[in-house]
């Protein structure tokens, strides 16, 4: 059995106790990558030499007592839209091929300071734009549970790497469900924190007002430990929040007695896979058995969420991605005549189709004469969605629902209908619009093969309640560890 079958916290304990060395854990991860990743394509960059030398350093610091944290010496991976000092960061785009940041993202830096060992950078939909991890310039990622299926996206590389046991945990980012949906497709756990909890400094922006960095791991305990490490106020990010309640691992106990849990009835209607619906209701039943009070209710506005999300995300993306112009870094076209032609050719060659589509969409919804009809309207919908969550959380501690309408589709089954594709995010985008935290947790397996996950949503800054509910559900489902 590979050491990578252990959870991150187990590995951390084994390393700290001297049972295994940090270098052995890293070797096990590198071996697993070498063996399995040619098929999965979950990594864009792997730097074994760097990882081994980091492991040596961590080992020394652990032995000298300088490093005592639960993640010390444990290998991990980071989504390729998070800057890593000295390690190529491409966002899965030809535009950034060869881009080596001089500093690490704050979340990555905090993990490194806690003794984490970075194995490499994981594959993703280009700039986070997609829900299949198929739009990467580095090729599509395959689902390790069944390689005929997509892993979901955009953090599909991180989720596949964890699900395949290449690393015990990884960082992902969630702009419209990009942690939660691939977690559910790959059968792993992940948290999208409250907006402002984890610094976005060093995250190459897609939808600035929507996205958060979060953990992906085999179970909720690992997720809580990682989130605890990366949640910190950062003066370099204006939207970063000062929080005192970030001792998430303290919430890891199995007690949901009296917890009020609401299931949005309107999320269980037409378009939802029958077995996924059953899994949500079954999760509700298990929580009821453990003492929670579970009710169905009307959340509303589901039909507007995806539209509002795509308008806002694309508007922000179009602007955020305008810095990729070939002037200062990244790709510059070889032949051009004049500055405008250089912009046009560099961006035409550097961006993939989905990125271009969203830039055009974003430019359109902000352009003179359309701003009110699209962007402003979308912001109004966003406000209404936030209001409806506020009302819901006045009555319920946690909302339970599906992560996606279906389980992971086959790579060959994918639709060319963009709207249909975008509607795959219908249950996840609301949390991003409202800024609330969400957890995706595997609860079962679909008769067609892929895992089924459910989603737990909480009010802003209520990750601890959410983690407690998720931990309890995880116990009820009898799961622990990877694979």
């Amino acid at each position: 059995m590979s050491l990578m079958q252990h959870t991150a916290l187990e590995l951390g304990r084994m390393i700290r106790s001297g049972e295994i060395r940090a270098v052995s854990a890293v070797r096990a991860a590198l071996d697993a990558v070498e063996k399995k990743d040619p098929e999965l394509n979950s990594f864009i960059t792997v730097d074994g030499e760097r990882a081994l030398s980091q492991a040596e350093q961590a080992e020394k610091k652990i032995r000298s007592g300088e490093l005592t944290g639960p993640l010390s010496g444990v290998p991990m991976a980071v989504k390729d839209n998070l800057c890593t000092e000295g390690l190529e960061t491409t966002c899965g785009s030809a535009m950034l091929r060869g881009y080596v940041p001089a500093y690490s993202a704050t979340a990555v830096r905090l993990l490194m300071e806690a003794g984490a060992v970075l194995i490499g950078k994981t594959n993703m939909d280009e700039f986070g734009m997609g829900n299949t991890s198929g739009t990467s310039a580095c090729g599509a990622v395959r689902n390790p549970r069944n390689t005929c299926h997509v892993p979901g996206g955009s953090s599909g590389g991180s989720c596949a790497a964890v699900a395949a046991g290449l690393v015990p945990y990884a960082l992902g980012t969630d702009t419209g469900g990009s942690i939660r949906q691939p977690c559910s497709f790959c059968g792993v756990a992940g948290i999208k924190p409250t907006y402002g909890t984890v610094s976005r400094y060093g995250l190459i922006a897609y939808g600035s007002s929507l996205e958060q960095i979060g953990p992906i791991a085999g179970n909720i305990s690992d997720c809580a430990a990682v989130l605890e490490t990366i949640a910190a106020h950062d003066p370099l990010d204006s939207t970063s929040v000062r929080r005192r309640d970030t001792h998430f691992t303290e919430a890891l106990f199995d007690d949901v007695r009296g917890m009020k849990i609401g299931i949005p009835k309107d999320w269980l209607g037409e378009g939802l896979d029958r077995e996924v619906r059953a899994a949500v209701l079954d999760a509700g039943a298990r929580l009821t058995e453990r003492g929670a009070v579970v009710r169905e209710f009307d959340l509303g506005l589901l039909d507007y969420a995806a539209a509002a999300y795509y308008v806002i995300a694309c508007a922000e993306a179009g602007s955020n991605l305008s810095r990729f112009d070939g002037v200062r870094y990244g790709m510059r076209a070889k032949d051009y005549r004049g500055i405008d032609d250089m912009y046009r050719r560099s961006r035409t060659e550097g961006f993939g189709a989905e990125v271009k589509r969203r830039i055009m969409l974003g430019s359109f919804v902000l352009s003179a004469g359309y701003y009110d009809a699209y962007y402003r309207k979308a912001q109004q919908v966003r406000r209404l969605i936030k209001n409806s969550f506020d009302e819901a959380f006045a009555r319920y501690d946690v909302i339970l629902g599906p992560v996606a309408p279906t389980v992971a589709p086959k790579m060959t089954e994918q639709t060319d209908d963009r709207v249909q594709k975008y509607l795959g995010d219908i249950y996840t985008v609301s949390a991003n619009l409202a800024g609330i935290p969400g957890i995706s947790l595997p609860v079962g397996v679909h008769s067609s093969g892929p895992p089924i996950g459910v989603q737990l949503l909480g009010n802003c800054f209520e990750e601890r309640t959410l983690i407690r509910a998720a931990y309890s559900l995880e116990q009820a489902c009898g799961r622990r560890g990877n694979g």
């Binding site: 001089a102 939207t239 179009g318 305008s322 810095r323 002037v327 352009s367």
Partner: protein, 477 residues
């Protein structure tokens, strides 16, 4: 013909704030550093960078707002203005479109036509862009990002001005106010104050505005005045010829006073403004405003009064000296070194003003140190140099901030005040000009002036003229 038209003028003034660091990050704003040395991930638009607002920039904006009678918005917000240009590192500029920090102020400007209120619509905070440098020979353009992210305020007036005189008076008062606040040095030639003029003409008495044009690249108040005059004439000429004024941006040609089309309205970009998601709303509390209000400095009127009271200089002098904060600061600095205030004020109002005008400079361009003016005044007072020499030395101080004592010694300009030596020179002059001596003794007063002149010439201008006069008279007796 032109008299039947009214000129309608509004201005947009960009002012670089005197913060030590940039508006959204900690790198320096120092002017004149080597290209791309005052830069950071934020102001070069690196993919990972995020912005954090500089508190001092907000304080300056609020201070200017208070000084020009604006309402301070308790909640304002930033927006992105999207356009591609290589000096714009993110290809969007962070500015305030929807909720500026200050609104609804006014300045009372004084012109020969009397006092007039010019309303200020808003003041908003934004970031400056980098600078493009074009090398035509190498067919190359390079970007210097030192200026990228320098905090700016843009002050937008209502179209309340009607003449070049009013426009320049408004701009002058605005600049004076901002300089007194220390919020900016407002140097037009270095670009720390940039003026865009919007101008339209209409038939006198009309109640709608004509089509306006915008003029940019005006790097002195004189250029502003010239641009207003010539654009007014150009627009009236078009209307008189039965043509239409086209809405466009024109670029001033400082040398010829003409202007050229920079950009027609059709080319004006669609900037796709939207709220900046990386910055939170700017909340300004009543307490903060009160605190900034308490720190407002002494403005021109109070300072002029104080100078009269404290230094005993005439009101007239005080008015002139306080017109520029820089000049007033210089005055007090020289006085503090022990120079007689009236002498200092004479030097500033006389030679300093003359040289500024001659060199086409503003008071802010003065580079000489108070110590050197003070030393010069002391040397003149002690009679070590005469008045004429003092002016020569002052010019050297003004241009190169030289040490006057060293300069006088080096050039051999010290007064000849040794009576014996001077008497010898005068005896020679008298001997060489017997006719003039005869004329003077015969009652022709003018001959004395000639003899004084000859003596000064013989001493290369270094003699004390009073002593020369006295010695001449006594030697001719």
């Amino acid at each position: 013909m032109g008299d039947s038209y009214e000129t309608v003028i509004g201005v947009e003034v960009h002012v670089e704030l005197a913060t030590k660091t940039k508006i959204f990050y900690g790198c320096s704003t120092a002017f004149g550093a080597a290209p791309n040395t005052n830069i950071c991930p934020v102001c070069t638009g690196q993919p990972r960078a995020l912005q954090v607002l500089n508190k001092k920039a907000v304080e300056y904006a609020v201070a200017v707002g208070l000084a020009v009678g604006c309402k301070i918005n308790r909640r304002s917000a930033f927006d992105r203005k999207n356009y591609f240009y290589p000096d714009n590192p993110r290809n969007y500029q962070i500015t305030q479109l929807y909720e500026p920090v200050c609104r609804d102020g006014a300045l009372a400007v004084q012109t020969e036509g009397g006092k007039k209120q010019v309303r200020i619509r808003e003041i908003h905070l934004e970031e400056d862009a980098g600078k493009l440098v074009h090398d035509d020979r190498a067919k190359l353009s390079v970007v210097d990002f030192n200026r990228s992210g320098v905090p700016l305020i843009e002050i937008v007036s209502e179209p309340d001005m009607r003449s070049a005189e009013e426009t320049v008076a408004f701009l002058g008062l605005l600049r004076q106010t901002i300089q007194y606040l220390g919020a900016s040095d407002c140097r037009l030639n270095e670009g720390s104050m940039r003026v865009d003029v919007n101008l339209s003409v209409r038939r006198a008495g009309a109640d709608t505005f004509g089509t306006r044009t915008e003029m940019k690249n005006l790097n002195s108040f004189r250029a502003v005045a010239r641009a207003v005059e010539s654009e007014r004439e150009r627009q009236i000429g078009l209307l008189e010829a039965g043509k239409c004024v086209v809405q466009e941006t024109r670029r001033g040609d400082d040398a010829g006073g003409r202007s050229f089309v920079m950009r027609a309205k059709e080319d004006a970009g669609d900037y796709r403004y939207f709220p900046e998601p990386d910055l939170v709303d700017l909340i300004i509390s009543d307490d903060w405003i009160r605190e900034i209000g308490k720190k407002q400095p002494e403005f021109r009127t109070e300072r002029a009064k104080r100078l009269v009271k404290e230094y005993g200089i005439p009101e007239y002098d005080a008015e002139i000296i306080t017109d520029s904060r820089h000049m007033a600061d210089l005055f007090e600095a020289v006085c503090a070194l022990g120079s007689p205030p009236k002498k200092v004020s004479n030097w500033l109002m006389g030679e300093t003003m003359r040289l500024l005008k001659e060199r086409g400079m503003e008071p802010e361009d003065i580079r000489f140190s108070p110590e050197h003016l003070s030393a010069l005044i002391a040397m003149a007072e002690r009679g070590e140099i005469n008045g004429g020499v003092a002016k020569t030395v002052f010019a050297a101080v003004f241009d190169g901030d030289v040490d006057p004592a060293a300069y006088v010694a080096g050039k051999g300009l010290a007064s000849v005040s040794d009576e014996d030596a001077l008497s010898a020179v005068i005896r020679q002059v008298l001997a060489d000009n017997p006719q003039s001596v005869k004329d003077y003794l015969g009652g022709k007063e003018r001959a004395l002036g000639f003899l004084v002149g000859q003596t000064m010439k013989a001493t290369k201008g270094r003699a004390d003229p009073a002593l020369v006069n006295a010695l001449l008279l006594s030697l001719m007796k």
